[in-house]
């Protein structure tokens, strides 16, 4: 099964984010890189707190771009997707942001507070720049709109598994599975559907795979592995935590 980790850039430090990327790469189809924002309304406690830690470290958009450039120059080839709130992109300049993504080697963009249709201009700019904008579908998205979102799919379509915000949960509700089944049937087999929000273990991932998902996105559960530690600097200090992150990634990858 395709595994997609979400990492909050700059938490606990940009150099640690690089270590996490390298550790996740062998098991991942894509890596989502979150650019921290002060007011992340789609995120639960874990990613909120990671974002604040990162911002307190002084992380900014230029530094995240710099980290991507370093990873690319160090031979990391896996596709990257930025997860950025709309104001981060808007304040940077939409055209400038997209161009820099292209130049630095980031293939996709998720804006959790920009529903499809709200900013036609960024769609046009992204398309011209060869950047994929990933659409989200929620359990309450009406069929007509879901059809439109799938038709305009990016590298994959992000299925929001449940009502609410991001954050690790241990179970899977029947409603979530039913939603994924419904979307699979609706989209047909040619479309890539990844499920996110609340996934923290291989058991859940297996059930989503059974419902027709091509992959799962895991964020908060990875962050919770290391967030108790405040270590900065070398990856040596977080060796046990990185091992646990790898083992979670491997267990889902092997499904």
């Amino acid at each position: 099964m395709n595994f997609v980790p979400y990492l909050c850039c700059g938490d606990p430090s940009l150099s640690m984010t690089k270590s996490f990327v390298k550790a996740m790469e062998p098991y991942s189809a894509v890596i989502e890189l979150g650019i921290p924002f002060s007011d992340p309304i789609a995120d639960g406690k874990t990613i909120q707190e990671a974002s604040i830690r990162s911002l307190n470290n002084g992380t900014n958009t230029d530094m995240v771009f710099g980290m991507v450039r370093e990873l690319r120059s160090e031979g990391i080839l896996i596709p990257f997707v930025f997860m950025a709130y709309y104001n981060t992109v808007y304040s940077y300049g939409r055209g400038r942001f997209i161009k820099k993504m292209k130049d630095f080697g980031v293939q996709g963009l998720i804006i959790p507070d920009l529903p499809f249709g709200e900013d036609r201009e960024i769609e046009v700019v992204a398309k011209a720049g060869g950047i994929s904008i990933i659409k989200l579908i929620a359990p309450n998205t009406v069929p007509e709109r879901a059809g439109e979102l799938i038709e305009n799919e990016g590298m994959y379509t992000y299925l929001v598994s449940a009502y609410g915000t991001t954050g690790a949960r241990s179970d899977v509700s029947e409603e979530s599975l039913e939603f994924v089944r419904r979307m699979r049937k609706f989209a047909g087999n040619g479309k890539t559907l990844y499920v996110g929000f609340g996934i923290s273990n291989a058991g859940q991932a297996r059930r989503f795979a059974g419902a027709g998902a091509d992959g799962v996105i895991v964020g908060s559960a990875l962050i919770e592995i290391y967030s108790g530690r405040t270590l900065k600097g070398s990856s040596e200090g977080l060796k046990p935590e990185i091992d646990r992150m790898e083992s979670l990634a491997r267990s889902i990858h092997n499904i």
Partner: protein, 392 residues
């Protein structure tokens, strides 16, 4: 039909989960305002419960002190729960019932909107939870207790700056989670579409009455309208019925805090805000060069917010409304000025508008008429100001 955008401002920058929810809200709102039954209930509660119409009072002592200008006060401070907020919360609580929702949530800064929501929820038998920054809850303990008395649960928010903006973040998260049975009673003319239009609609009763009253009492339209602007609901409520009266000049007063150059203020338009998106709406926002939302400051909690309602952003670009700012210390001056001249203690928010009057009067011809929206009473601020001034 309520407009989705004001020029380029406004819009609905929200998670996909809220797209169908806000669509339903818009549809129900449009149905409700066309329903004579809904309107009759609203009118009845506004007059018999909240205390409408509020007087338009000619403040003669204050006018004499100012010199040129003749000031009328629109007495929203006399409303139940002490401010204009109740106009909107009764409207939205009725809307929640109309939509079949069982529970309402709201954000609050100083507590005024929280108290007004809790009162409306108690009145209409709705479950009510209020999000309040933990810093604000500490500063306004009495209002926390007041909300509890009214049967509401207060949820203290300890993320981010622990103030109003963080309370809105958590209220939006709750709304995303519980939208099937919950209505979010947003307290100002901000947030994603359709909120700015809904809140303006429920607050426009202020302008509707004021226009009629000033014509009755003065025999003509005023030369100026003055109102303080946090999110901007009391201002837009007053302004809305004078938009097409080209000779009526309008002034919105923002919180200048300790001065624009100190960075400790909440002046989005008249200070150093830039275009951006916060809480679902494109508007002027106080932010750093990378789009992170800045912490704001004002002596008045109700004006202490980093974004401004999108219609105000638009009205500033068309120059229909002039936006200015007043410092903390001048606002405290306004607080005393109205108290001593008229025997009315204004809310610190409204005191910002009062404090602009001497400046405005200096630019006026003798006999120019102004309506100032006295959006709230100062009872809630008495202890705070007393402490600042070292008197209690």
């Amino acid at each position: 039909m309520i407009e989705k955008r004001f020029g380029e401002f406004g819009g609905a920058y929200i998670p996909e989960l809220l797209v169908p929810v806000l669509k339903e809200l818009e549809t129900c709102f449009e149905k409700a305002v066309k329903s004579s039954e809904f309107q009759a209930k609203l009118d009845s509660y506004l007059s018999r419960y909240a205390g409408r119409p509020t007087p338009l009072y000619l403040a003669e002592n204050l006018s004499r002190r100012l010199g040129n200008i003749k000031v009328y006060l629109k007495r929203e401070d006399l409303l139940h729960t002490g401010a204009h907020k109740i106009n909107n919360t009764i409207g939205q609580a009725l809307l929640a019932k109309f939509m079949g929702k069982k529970r309402v949530i709201a954000e609050t800064g100083a507590g005024q909107h929280g108290v007004a929501t809790a009162a409306a929820a108690a009145l209409l038998g709705l479950e009510c939870e209020i999000y309040m920054g933990s810093k604000d809850a500490e500063r306004q303990k009495l209002n926390v207790y007041r909300m509890n008395l009214l049967g509401a649960k207060v949820i203290k928010v300890s993320s981010g700056s622990k103030t109003l903006k963080d309370a809105i973040n958590d209220a939006l998260r709750d709304y995303t989670t519980n939208c099937n049975d919950t209505h979010y009673v947003l307290g100002s003319a901000l947030g994603p579409h359709p909120y700015p239009g809904i809140v303006r609609h429920f607050q426009s009763v202020i302008g509707l009455e004021a226009r009629k009253q000033v014509i009755e009492q003065e025999g003509r339209l005023p030369d100026y309208l003055v109102a303080c602007v946090g999110g901007g609901s009391n201002a837009i409520g007053l302004f809305s019925h004078f938009m097409d009266d080209k000779d009526v000049k309008m002034v919105g007063v923002e919180a200048g805090g300790e001065g624009i150059s100190t960075g400790r203020h909440a002046a989005r338009i008249s200070g150093d805000g830039k275009k951006g998106v916060l809480h679902g709406s494109l508007t002027y926002v106080l932010q750093d060069p990378f789009g992170q939302i800045r912490e704001t400051h004002s002596v008045s909690a109700g004006l202490d917010y980093p974004a401004i309602g999108p219609e105000h952003a638009y009205l500033s670009t068309t120059r229909r409304v002039e936006y200015v700012h007043v410092s903390d210390s001048d606002a405290l001056g306004g607080f005393h000025l109205l108290s001593t001249t008229e025997g009315i203690i204004p809310a610190l928010e409204s005191a910002h508008a009062i404090a602009y009057l001497p400046v405005l009067s200096g630019k006026c011809k003798k006999g120019d008429v102004a309506i100032l929206n006295l959006s709230g009473r100062g009872d809630k601020d008495v202890e705070y100001v007393g402490r600042i001034e070292g008197l209690i």
